[in-house]
């Protein structure tokens, strides 16, 4: 078992090497990505500033607290660009042209393989600028970060990444039945935009949806509350358990889909 795990990470390293050199062929992209990140951030900050102009606040969050939410959103967006989008869009394609068979006959965990097969360096500017923005708000606010809140932040961020990944993966998995499901991921992405703002800024109905139907709260608001020190320990534990449960569910769902795929396709 440990040998298998070792080999898959070696494999992924090899995959990432080739995908990075492939991507770096396109120099234009670096330029585009940097401009796009700067533009996106300044645009989002501008919209936020409109809300705060009249001294109002979003759902009880101050300006700098909302900026932290936006920063976390930017980090997750970068991860989506780098890992989720390039890999999970391939699943659909592989089901379509039948190359999924080649993956399934390999002696490695197919979910890990499919989820980490390629990496795109173009999400890195987003990830970096997200972290920079968080650091900046803390320097400006002259707040001191305790090691404890950094730890809590890391825990909640990891659980938010797991949740995000599971949502993407579950939708991508459905492509085994509905080959043209890819746009469902676009739907997911478009709803996740709500994560740019604290969830408590939404009306009660939407708050309910974003907490219980689509757990966007756990993606950005919860990690932000963790680093801002305004969160209860029980919510953190709940968020972790919830993410692990989703991860587990995504795996079960994948195995179920595969058994369907291998028995149904000819």
């Amino acid at each position: 078992m440990s040998k298998l795990n070792f080999s898959i990470f070696r494999l992924i390293k090899a995959f990432w090497n080739t995908s990075i050199s492939k991507e770096l062929e396109y120099r234009l992209n670096l330029f585009i990505e940097i401009i796009s990140v700067i533009g996106n951030l300044s645009g989002s900050l501008f919209v936020l500033s409109i809300f705060y102009k009249g001294g109002f606040n979003l759902g009880g969050w101050t300006w700098s607290e909302s900026v932290v939410v936006l920063a976390i959103y930017t980090i997750l967006d970068g991860l989506t660009t780098s890992i989720l989008q390039p890999n999970l869009s391939r699943i659909v394609q592989q089901v379509q042209d039948g190359t999924l068979d080649f993956v399934l006959i390999k002696p490695v965990n197919s979910q890990i393989w499919l989820s980490l097969r390629v990496i795109s360096p173009w999400g890195i500017p987003s990830i970096i600028s997200g972290f920079l923005l968080i650091t900046y708000t803390f320097i400006i606010g002259k707040k001191i970060l305790s090691l404890y809140s950094i730890l809590l932040f890391c825990l909640t961020l990891i659980s938010s990444i797991f949740i995000l990944y599971s949502l993407w993966f579950i939708i991508a998995t459905t492509s085994i039945w509905f080959v043209r499901i890819w746009n469902a991921n676009e739907v997911l992405r478009s709803v996740l935009v709500a994560g740019r703002y604290p969830i408590s800024a939404f009306p009660a109905g939407l708050r309910f949806v974003f907490t219980f139907l689509l757990p966007i709260t756990f993606l950005t608001s919860v990690p932000a509350e963790a680093i801002l020190g305004k969160i209860s320990l029980s919510l953190i534990i709940f968020s972790l358990l919830f993410s692990l449960a989703l991860l587990f569910l995504s795996n079960k769902f994948w195995n179920f889909a595969i058994s369907f795929y291998t028995s149904a396709s000819s």
């Binding site: 090497n17 990075i20 050199s21 770096l24 062929e25 120099r27």
Partner: protein
């Protein structure tokens, strides 16, 4: 008056190169090394109306580049081309109405719709009336033996059916100059034969000029009297297919059947041994001293039977295409 003429046509490309590995990648990212490649050099040929000409050569010899230059998709670096009285580069509408390009590895039919929809679209693009369109589709589909396939989505068709539909779509406007790039690629032998017969029929019926490339020698030998052989971007041979043998192989194949099995060993020293099996010897003997050598053999050994032939052209060209050497 030739319908296609190419005069000292050359095409030069610039490509960037990358060393393998991360270091090479990073270096490549910041600084690109450019190399110049001559795809086609000083090509000269003329093709008359109604000819079917085979265009052969190994991969990367410059066949596709030349075809695309003849259609006006690629501009020349130097030289000039005239097709049907037009300079292809101007992509004049009257020129475009007279030609077609079919690429075996690329398709223009709309993947998710039946071929019929693509035909209708093409008919509108070329301004054909409904009645005329129907008539032509009927005619061509009979020639191609297509029937119900026309009403099924393209993605549901077999490769052979798809290629036939592709041909129909490309010939709906009844072009008189056909450029075909590997039209039988990947097809099974029956579909290949069907496509060949169709092309011959189309050529006969409309007096169309056809220039085709193919890796299947069967296509070339059954369709083309004349071939252009291109190698490393240069025209190596232009003439009858039957004469190509002389150029490619200065040898003849001699089959000798001997009464005495011991002498077979000695006989094999007179030429390049191809096969040696007890009483039977196959030798390649240079053309210029064929009679001389044969006389010697007949004088010295007891020969039961003798047969002199050209080595099969398919084998010769096939070998050439594989090795890439001439």
């Amino acid at each position: 008056m030739p319908i296609i003429s190419a005069r000292s046509v050359s095409k030069i490309y610039k490509v960037s190169e990358k060393a393998p590995g991360l270091k090479g990648t990073l270096k490549h990212f910041f600084e690109r090394r450019i190399r110049i490649i001559k795809a086609v050099e000083q090509l000269n040929f003329e093709i008359s109306k109604g000819e079917i000409v085979g265009f052969i050569g190994s991969n990367g010899a410059g066949k596709t580049t030349t075809l695309k230059m003849l259609c006006g998709l690629i501009h020349l670096s130097s030289g000039s081309i005239e097709v049907a009285g037009h300079n292809p580069e101007q992509r004049d509408r009257n020129f475009l109405r007279q030609i077609t390009l079919v690429m075996g590895q690329k398709q223009q039919l709309i993947w998710d719709l039946p071929p019929m929809d693509s035909f209708r679209l093409n008919a509108a693009v070329y301004g054909l009336s409904d009645r005329e369109t129907k008539r032509r589709i009927n005619e061509l589909s009979t020639m191609l033996e297509l029937d119900n396939e026309l009403y099924r989505p393209v993605r549901k068709l077999s490769l052979g059916q798809r290629m036939k539909a592709e041909l129909l779509a490309s010939l709906l406007h009844r072009p008189t100059v056909l450029f075909l790039d590997e039209p039988t690629l990947g097809l099974d032998i029956n579909s290949q034969i069907r496509v060949r017969q169709f092309l011959a029929e189309y050529n006969y019926k409309y007096g169309a000029t056809i220039l085709l490339t193919s890796h299947y020698m069967g296509d070339i030998t059954s369709l083309c009297k004349r071939v252009l052989l291109i190698h490393d971007g240069k025209l190596f041979y232009d003439g009858l297919l039957s004469d190509l043998t002389n150029k490619l192989s200065p040898y003849r194949l001699v089959k000798l059947s001997l009464t005495d099995s011991d002498s077979a060993h000695f006989v094999s020293q007179f030429g390049q041994l191809v096969e040696y099996d007890d009483h039977l010897v196959k030798l390649l003997i240079a053309r210029e001293n064929l009679t001389e050598v044969l006389t010697t053999i007949l004088n010295q050994f007891k020969v039961k039977d003798i047969e002199v032939t050209d080595p099969p052209i398919e084998q010769l060209i096939g070998k050439l295409l594989k090795s890439g050497n001439i």
